[in-house]
Amino acid sequence: MLILNCPYCGVDAEETELSPGGEAHLKRYGPGSSDADFEDYLFQRENPKGVHFERWRHANGCGKWFHAARCTMTLEVFGTYEAQSLEPPKSIQKAISKKRPGWSWREFS
């Protein structure tokens, strides 16, 4: 069972307390953007086998959105961080590098 630590209320929340919200750090395109940009934003996904960054909501808890760094191949959790972050915190990137040397995800590595 997946257990994620909510970075807001500090609770170790198990899966039924959380709702998954898909890929994190998507760039949201607005009016005037190209079809390709919209396709990217709405549909194209990283879907990696390995290190992944996702949005989760502590739905049956404090109700807040946060981000999680996970491995989709082992279900290992590398860390969670606030939804207001534009990129995963350096500490989490470092923790991932320790376990998955050479990892990359979009522009992060």
């Binding site: 069972m1 549909f43 086998k49 191949m73 082992t74 279900l75």
Partner: protein, 414 residues
């Protein structure tokens, strides 16, 4: 290939079964093929089969990292139906269902197609209207379905509790020629027929790279060395994103776990397939007597072939209310598969940005029923560059907004 027949069974019975052949060869890969298909699931094997049968293209290899049929094709709950809402879906799923009717004869392999009838329960007013609409759409598409009332539901499936406290059964969308088939047999039957045509099925061989030159695909790197090809078909379900990454393009796909489970075998008690989309569960009885149960997919990316326990709990809870008779059954086996979900819940059968590289994926939670039709269309697409069956399912529909929205028809994973 020696044909299977009643006569063959009698002949072998008289000589201690010493005359059966291996169903398919296990050759070492050649240096080059006209066509390489990656993935020996049902869709990959069917694509190869119809390339040979319909287009005479037989210098074909099907490359599989595990064992053939060991992916979702051997993990699904085998529901076959074609009662979808949109025209392109009805066309490809009904083509598949029609091919299933004679597939055992066609392949000379008993795939145990059992058109026992599939009903999708309407348990809210919204569903009643939705399924009535689907029944009308199906009538126009030439797919035989009917909206039936609760009494008919009870007649067809006496073990069902139609007046449950929360979600009484208000009716159902009934497809009398839907049903089930033996999933492994579908893969094995196609594999045997492909091998018989001289195609190479190469198991325990993982594709690790897609080689290209001048924007065209020229071959693949594998754990058994590099293999050249003129055309490449990528048919790897949950691993489509991984292969697309090797080929240098992106996909509108997320891979998630979908689970199923079967009970201990019991006496025959249910001779139809029942799906309950509102409460999220479906059930049928296998020929061995096991109740075959499935429900919803997980909500997050996962490649482990293991899913979340609470989804199984929700499914079983809903089904116990609908079928009180199963409340004391022990569950025997429980497993998961990694399904490839697209944004509009419809598959992708398409050319790709890499020339001569084609992809067939996105069948998600419901592609077993489509295997023959998908193979038929994909083979035509790869041989001729276009196919009426696959036209609507191209990759560029996501850019152009031409969605084939089946999120309602596919309300529950099946």
């Amino acid at each position: 290939m020696k044909r299977y027949s009643a006569f063959a069974v009698a002949r072998e019975a008289l000589r201690f079964h010493s005359g059966w052949e291996r169903a398919w060869r296990s050759p070492a890969p050649k240096k080059k093929y006209d066509v390489i298909i990656i993935g020996a699931g049902g869709h990959g094997l069917a694509t190869a089969y119809y390339l040979g049968r319909n287009f005479g293209i037989r210098n074909v290899a099907v490359i599989e990292k595990g064992w053939l049929g060991g992916g979702n094709t051997g993990r699904n709950t085998t529901i076959i139906r074609s009662n979808y809402l949109q025209d392109p879906s009805a066309a490809i799923y009904e083509k598949a269902r029609g091919l299933y009717e004679n597939l055992s004869q066609d392949l000379n392999y008993n795939i145990m197609f059992s058109p026992r009838g599939v009903m999708m329960l309407a348990q809210t007013q919204h569903e009643v209207r939705g399924y009535q609409r689907t029944a009308h759409a199906n009538a126009l598409q030439g797919v035989t379905t009917e909206f039936i009332g609760p009494q008919k539901v009870k007649e067809l499936c006496p073990i069902m509790n139609i007046d449950g406290p929360r979600y009484p059964v208000l009716g159902a969308l009934w497809q009398p020629r839907g049903g089930t088939a033996r999933h492994d047999a579908v893969a094995w039957g196609y594999a045997r027929a492909c091998s018989d045509m001289g195609m190479d099925i190469i198991q325990k061989c993982e594709v690790t790279g897609v080689r290209q030159s001048g924007g065209k695909v020229v071959g693949v790197d594998t754990t058994k060395g590099a293999i050249d090809c003129d055309k490449l078909g990528v048919v790897v379900a949950g691993h489509s994103g991984v292969l697309a990454d090797m080929a240098g393009f992106r996909l509108p796909i997320e891979s998630v776990a979908l689970q199923a489970l079967v009970s201990e075998p019991i006496k025959p008690c249910m001779d139809v397939v029942v799906m309950a989309n509102t409460v999220h569960g479906y059930m049928s009885q296998s020929d061995k007597g096991e109740m075959v149960i499935g429900g919803g997919a997980d909500g997050y990316n996962n490649y482990t072939q293991r899913g979340s326990f609470h989804h199984v709990e929700e499914t079983v809870r809903a089904l116990v209310e609908t079928f009180p008779i199963i409340s004391r059954l022990k569950m025997l086996r429980w497993w998961g598969g990694i399904v490839d979900m697209t944004g509009d819940r419809s598959p992708i059968l398409s050319k790709t940005p890499l020339e001569n590289c084609f992809i067939n994926c996105g069948w998600g939670t419901g592609g077993f029923k489509a295997i023959p039709g998908s193979g038929w269309g994909m083979a035509e697409l790869m041989a001729k560059g276009h196919s009426p069956l696959t036209e609507g399912f191209s990759l560029d529909r996501f850019k152009e907004g031409r969605f084939i929205d089946e999120s309602v028809a596919a309300g529950v994973a099946h």
